[in-house]
Amino acid sequence: MDVLALMNEKVFLGQEFLTWLWYVSEEMGSVQLADGRLVDVLLGERLVLGPVQGQEGTRVTVKGRETSLAEARQALRRGKLVESLRLGLMIDGEEYWLTLEAAELGLKALKLPPTAPGGGAPEGLEGLVLERISLVDAALRGLEGLLMVFLTQRLADEKGGELWAALKAWAAGRQVEE
């Protein structure tokens, strides 16, 4: 299996997922996972949009709140999709912040909820590491839950089902408003 070729061929999945997360943060606020849990999705202060796979074009990077989001929305209307974004997730009452990249779904600058001080003793350190591992795990499972919801709707038919229709309406709606 040539992972690099596969990554290039299927990068659109990550772009579409991240774009959907932006949509969720603006239009829904939260998503119910298959296991019934609710995950709140918040848009952070960094968004990078790039051309849809197979097309050429420049990247648009926006930082900060509302004013620069207008630029991101404009890029969205021109057909660009999200390549990277800063995201807040509220999972089981705990808040996580992370930067997600579309190509590999790698996590950057993941900020975990606070943990109890571990102390200097080795057993304290072990406990702290295990606690932080379980928090990372919770963030990753939350993300996977979101990806599963996205996939189930996106793959409903070859045109992306109701999910893609909603995304189109969202993008077009913004155009009408502005």
Binding site: F12, A103, L110, L155, E158
Partner: protein, 206 residues
């Protein structure tokens, strides 16, 4: 990565393949066979190996300190010494001048100059302490997933190589498509995932 404090960056891998029945003994043997070897007093340009995630000077792993069942938590230490090209050029020029003076004007062959250059490079390498970088690695042996505390390409290449060599297991990057395949399993949506093509929002403007 920041498993002890601070924010984290991580790359995810799926680890698939059979592991031996004496799994934890196997892990212990393999880690100890691939420990970090210090290059402080040498001219080696780089060294890579496993260290404790909490203390990169610790390669003893007393009481199998990497084992936090079901996790294996390790530090991947990468030491590199680099001599700037400009510095090599400077000392090479000095050495060439010295050699020419000693030979009272008789020229140096190309081979002589190359030999001097290599001597200078080795001498500078010996005098340059290596820079150390450590990346946390957390292997969830139950779920078959590894987290590497870096998103950089060079570190990922290094990790993929040493993980494969150490444990005879291939770490597969969990890119969206492969992760989606794992999540969907063999159900109805799996062939649709394979057939999926990029969609565009551009039509919204029509």
């Amino acid at each position: 990565m920041g498993l002890i404090k601070g924010s984290l960056s991580l790359s995810r891998y799926a680890v698939k393949g059979d592991t031996p029945p004496d799994f934890w003994d196997f892990v212990d043997r393999r880690i100890r066979a691939n420990l970090f070897m210090d290059i402080e007093d040498s001219t080696e340009e780089q060294a890579v190996g496993w260290v404790s995630a909490h203390d990169y000077f610790d390669v003893s792993f007393a009481y199998a300190s990497y084992a936090l069942d079901p996790y294996v938590v390790l530090g991947l230490r990468w030491d590199r010494r680099r001599v700037p090209a400009g510095l090599i050029k400077k000392y090479h020029t000095l050495e060439v001048k010295k050699a020419l003076a000693a030979r009272e004007g008789r020229g140096l062959s190309r081979a002589d100059r190359e030999e001097l250059k290599e001597k200078v490079r080795l001498d500078l390498l010996r005098r340059t302490p290596p820079a150390t970088q450590v990346f946390e690695v957390c292997w969830d042996t139950q779920r078959g997933e590894v987290w590497l505390g870096s998103a950089g390409r060079a570190v990922r290449d290094l990790f993929e190589d040493i993980f494969r060599r150490t444990f005879d297991l291939q770490p597969w990057p969990r890119i969206p498509y492969l992760l989606a395949g794992d999540l969907l399993g063999a159900g109805l949506l799996s062939p649709r995932l394979e057939a999926a093509r990029p969609l565009s929002l551009y039509e919204a403007e029509a």
